[in-house]
Structure formats: structure tokens, C-alpha cells
Symmetry: C2
Subunit: 362 residues, 2 copies
């Protein structure tokens, strides 16, 4: 498999290492920063240090664009221009709203692995970075099923769990789960850092709680200024809701409302447990879902996004169009009887005819 | 040394283990909860399971009250009543404002170690819990110097760094460094937990950042309802300032102000580094500061709190009153020439005559 990395920082180089490890991929790389490119070669993340973006992607089967958010749209256009028809193009950007404004291509499917680190640069790249991580994919109504299947398989091979999502929904989810936490870490650091209490510097008296809560604070401004501005609308919505919740708490403290505070803490404890236990079903025997589908665009994205929203993990799938009149069949492989049945119920509730059967492994 | 623990949960039992380890203390313990008392005995944190609070403190030299915040004032009164004149009494409560409303006693000095854990109960107690931790002490104008010296030495022997602070200032510092972070963790959990985005549950797509930021969320309501309500004024001030900072950020995002966002992230990065590097001076040769003092109440608390605010670590001290006319001398031992000189400059700027000399170790 021929893989091209456009951008060889922490994420790009980790994709390279993971793909070489899992798939024996042959990896070419390019980065506008010569140091990042040299670092990726030294780390063993790329086999070939390409002289240009065009050279890197020329004969690739898959090109992964791992550039900072602000440069993504332009770089994806460049990669599509210089790569051949056989090349599928994806990215790993933290925001996906820009996809709506880009010219659609059947060869492009957006992506975003929820993996990262305080560290950055190829020196910190690891093949295991994506192990068990959610990897959002944004199939669109124009997405080609075979290309999506190849990308889905690639992401799974790297150890990640592909979850299909609409680009706008992706950005609203990330505003809540990543950008709001980053904002709160920064706000907290700057408030505690700016205060003096009768000569004491509160920052010097910080316990482990404040240290944990600010681990993600002050993250690389080269990356985060763009993320905050690129996703400004969703981040502002999240901040406004946060402010309303702060006001509620202030009112409860003002009223000495112990009941409110106790319920509020209890709810947080429940949410913390939900966060830690995750929502994945147990693995189990693979089941085949045969779904009759109409021959119209958007079926792939509609079905994968619906299952993604329920965090039903698709192991593999096949999309077959029989004819415009008779439509076709979408075959999905799903691990575990319970999860397969949930998937079937969900799709039936959306009007599809679904047939479930255990895949005979004998 | 005879130590009494009134309250044998995580903190109380850890004090017992640390005192036995560092000082060979003989520890009696009492807790209204029989399970906590039995747990402390099992963990080896107490030598004697006292039948009552009165029995536990009867012949103690130091009594440490480690009760939940709401029960502290009443338990301290009980402990003072049942202990002898030779017994110094302290507590480990997370708020100190209640001290202003309590009847003053020369035998009582408030305390608060910045150590804790997600875990609670004596089973999780550890002798090393206080190693390197700030341990706030609240000497008052009526505090007896010998008792304060003994408590200061006790806390140091447990591995903690005693920092003198005014009780009200303590609560404002903790509102910023502990109660606000706890509140934000809970607010974040409840906001992310309450949202659904096109069928997706954002909590299920949480990355490591959200996990870190909510580690302290949903903490034991039995403890935290009281802390929030007991320190409601300072917490509300901190929340109101936080809200103003959120509004600033919203305005910057609204205006697409990349400069503001970059400066704001940069400032957070600086504050994060300050938090991690801490403000402690290097250890070094012990220096003796001889401070001439007037014979008036409050000198001990004034000097120790002033040095605490600058995080100048006092290794040991002696307070000697010569006469009402001539006043007396306060001798302080401080590690490191640079730190000793900072202490001397600070006290001279407050009108004291100070003499610094290296302590000859030969």
C-alpha cells in the first residue's frame, strides 16, 4: 500500500509509523517545514522524503493531509490536483466546518482522530497513538463507497474506531469535548495567575487538581488560535451555555441551596462514570446485516452516520448497486449479536428492510 | 509524642501513618463512623481505638481534627474541652473562614494540607501523602509561639511545607486554586453530559483532555456540598470573575481577534509553566535571621504570614520575649542565602531590624 503524508508532525508521523507497522505501507512524506520532514525520516515514519507536495502524492493510493487547520483547505486542493484518480485523500484536522465551503470531490473524505498529546513534532510520534481512539470520518452524499470502505479499513487497521459524522455535527461535538475544555483550562490558568491574595500567589499553592485541570492549557498557539477561530460559532455557543450554568451555580450558592449543589455534584459524578465506562459494546461474533437500499446518493453517509451516532462499530461493509430501478444492497459486518440487533432496529426504524445473520466462521 | 486523631478518614489516617513513621508517635484515634475507625486500625494508622472523643484526646500532646467541614467548629470545641492544657489542637479543614466565628483559644491553630486524592477512607491512607505539599497554618494574634513552633515542626516532619496565612486569605486562595477548578470540572461534565448533537453523545467521544479536566469532578458530595456552601462568598467572587473572562473570550471570538486569542493562550502557557516550576527557592545552607521585635501580640502571625505570602520556607524559629519595655527577639532559620536575604529585606521593609548570618555547621 502506498501512503503519502502531507504534514509530518506528531499526527502525520504517527499515521506513518502505524501504517508501516499494521499494513507494511510504503510511505512518502512532505512537510513545508524541513525540520519536521527530517524528524519524520529519523523517526522511521516515512520511507521517502519527497522534494515537493506533488512528488509526495504522485503515485499514492491514500494521501493523509496533516496540516494546521488554517492551511488544510488549500493543501487538500493541492493534493487533489497533484494526485491521480486512484488516490483517496483525507485529512486529520480538528475542525470540519471548512469542508462545506470546499469544492466537493468524490476522492476526498474528511477525518479526525481523537488522539494527541501535550507533545508535538515527529520526535514524539508513536505507532500506538490511535489504539482505541475514536477517529471521526465525514462521508458526504457524494462520497464513493469503495473509497470510504478503504479509508474505514485503513483507520481500523491503525487501531482506531471509525465513527461517521456530519461535518457540522463534528464541530459542535468537538466544541464541547475539546475546545471548551481547552478554553476553560486557559481561563483558569489566567485567572489564578492574575490574582494576588494578601501577598500570596495562588498559583504557587496549587494542588494536584489544578495541575490536572490545566494540563491542556497554554497549548501550542500556532495550532489553537486557528482552531478557536475556525470553530468560533460552536465554541461561542458552548461558552454561552457554560456561562448560564455558572450563573445557576452562583444563584444556588447565593441562596445556600444545599439540595441544588448536592444534585449538581451527583450528576457530575454520574457523567464522569459515563465518560470513563465509554459507550462501546462488547466484542462478539461478527453478524452480517443485509440492508436493501434505494439507488440514490447519500445512502452511504446516511447509514454510516446514523450508526456512528449510536457508536455502533462497523467492522466492514460492502455497498452494491444493482440497478436504478431495483436499488441495491448494503452489507454491514458488526461484532456482537446485541450490537448487530441495535443496528438493525435503528435502520428498520428509518424505513430500511434489514436481515441479520451470524457470520458462520467455520 | 502522643498524637490524637479525631476523624480517621484518608487525611486523618495519613497523618497517623506519617507521624508514626517520622516521629514514632503514639496515636489514639476516634471517629463517629465505626467503619472508619476500624479501617484506620487495620491500616496501622492508630495504635489505640479510643472509645470516645474525650478518651482519644485525654492525654494527647497534639490533637488533629480531621472531620468534614460542617462538623469542624463543634468538634474543635469538644476537643478543646476534653484535652488538657498541654494539648495543642489543629484541624485539616478545607475552609478556614469559620475560625473567625469560633471562640479563640491559645491552644488552637488552624491548618490545611493541600493533599488529597480521588480516593477516600482510611484504606487509601499513605504516610507519604504530605511529601512536598503546602500545608497552610493560620496563626492568629493570640497564638502561642511555642505551640505554633511545635505544630510547624510536626508538619515539616511529615514532609510538608508549612505556609502561614490569614484564615480569610486562605479561603480566597482556595476558592481560586481548588473550589473554582472543582466547580468547572462539574460544570463541564454536566454540560457535555446534557448535550446531544444529531444523535451523537459527546461524552462518548471524549478525548484525554476532557478526562484529565474532569478527574476532580463529581467528588464526594458529603464533603463538597459543605465546602462550596461554607466558602460560598469567595467561590461566588471567583465564579463572577470567571464569567467576565468567558465574556471577554466570547467577544474576541465574535470579532475574530486572532491577536487576543494568541496572547491569551501565550499567557496561559506562561502561567502553566509558573505552576509547574513552583516558587520554592533552592535548598542551601541554613541562615539565621535575628529579628528585634516589639512586645506586642500578633508579631508571630504577622511575621510568619508575611514570609508565607512570599513562600519563604521557615525551617525552624524561636520567639523570645525579653521584657515589655525592651521587646524581644525572633530567631528564624531559613535555608539558602538568597532566600534568607529575601526574608531579611521583606522584614526590614516592614520596619524590623534584622541581622542575617550563616549558621556555622561545624
Amino acid at each position: 500500500m502506498k501512503l503519502a503524508l502531507v504534514g509530518t508532525g506528531l499526527i502525520g508521523s504517527s499515521v506513518g509509523l502505524a501504517a508501516k507497522h499494521a499494513l507494511g505501507a510504503e510511505v512518502s512524506g512532505w512537510d513545508p517545514d524541513p525540520a519536521a520532514l527530517a524528524g519524520a525520516a529519523e523517526r522511521g515514519a516515512i520511507d521517502r522524503d519527497a522534494g515537493s507536495l506533488a512528488d509526495a502524492v504522485a503515485d499514492a493510493e491514500l494521501a493523509v493531509v496533516a496540516a494546521p487547520v488554517a492551511q488544510l483547505p488549500a493543501q487538500v486542493v493541492e493534493v487533489l490536483r497533484h494526485s491521480g484518480d486512484g488516490c483517496t485523500v483525507t485529512d486529520v484536522g480538528s475542525t470540519k466546518g471548512w469542508i462545506a465551503g470546499a469544492e466537493p470531490s468524490v476522492r476526498f473524505v474528511g477525518g479526525h482522530p481523537l488522539a494527541g498529546s501535550e507533545a508535538h513534532g515527529p520526535a514524539h510520534a508513536r505507532a500506538e497513538l490511535f489504539e482505541g481512539a475514536t477517529w471521526f470520518l465525514t462521508p458526504s452524499p457524494t462520497t464513493d463507497a469503495d473509497r470510504y470502505r478503504a479509508l474505514h479499513g485503513f483507520v481500523s487497521a491503525l487501531g482506531a474506531i471509525p465513527v461517521a459524522v456530519d461535518p457540522q455535527a463534528h464541530d459542535r461535538i468537538l466544541a464541547l469535548t475539546s475546545h471548551l475544555p481547552h478554553a476553560l483550562a486557559n481561563l483558569l490558568l489566567n485567572q489564578v495567575g492574575a490574582n494576588r491574595v494578601e501577598g500570596h500567589e495562588p498559583l504557587a499553592a496549587a494542588g494536584g487538581g489544578l495541575r490536572d485541570m490545566t494540563r491542556i492549557g497554554g497549548a501550542n498557539p500556532r495550532i489553537w488560535v486557528d482552531i478557536f477561530l475556525d470553530n468560533a460559532d460552536s465554541v461561542r455557543d458552548a461558552l454561552a451555555e457554560h456561562r448560564r450554568r455558572v450563573e445557576q451555580l452562583e444563584a444556588a450558592l447565593d441562596a445556600g441551596d444545599a439540595g441544588f449543589v448536592a444534585r449538581w455534584i451527583g450528576e457530575a459524578g454520574q457523567n464522569r462514570r459515563r465518560l470513563l465506562t465509554g459507550a462501546y459494546g462488547e466484542a462478539g461474533q461478527i453478524h452480517r446485516l443485509l440492508v436493501r437500499i434505494p439507488d440514490r446518493p447519500g445512502v452511504l453517509s446516511a447509514i454510516t452516520q446514523a450508526l456512528g451516532a449510536e457508536r455502533i462499530n462497523i467492522e466492514d461493509f460492502e455497498l452494491r448497486h444493482d440497478s436504478p430501478e431495483r436499488g441495491g444492497a448494503f452489507t454491514l459486518m458488526i461484532a456482537g449479536e446485541e450490537q448487530a440487533q441495535r443496528a438493525a432496529d435503528l435502520l428498520e426504524s428509518q424505513g430500511y428492510a434489514v436481515d441479520v445473520s451470524p457470520l458462520d466462521e467455520s
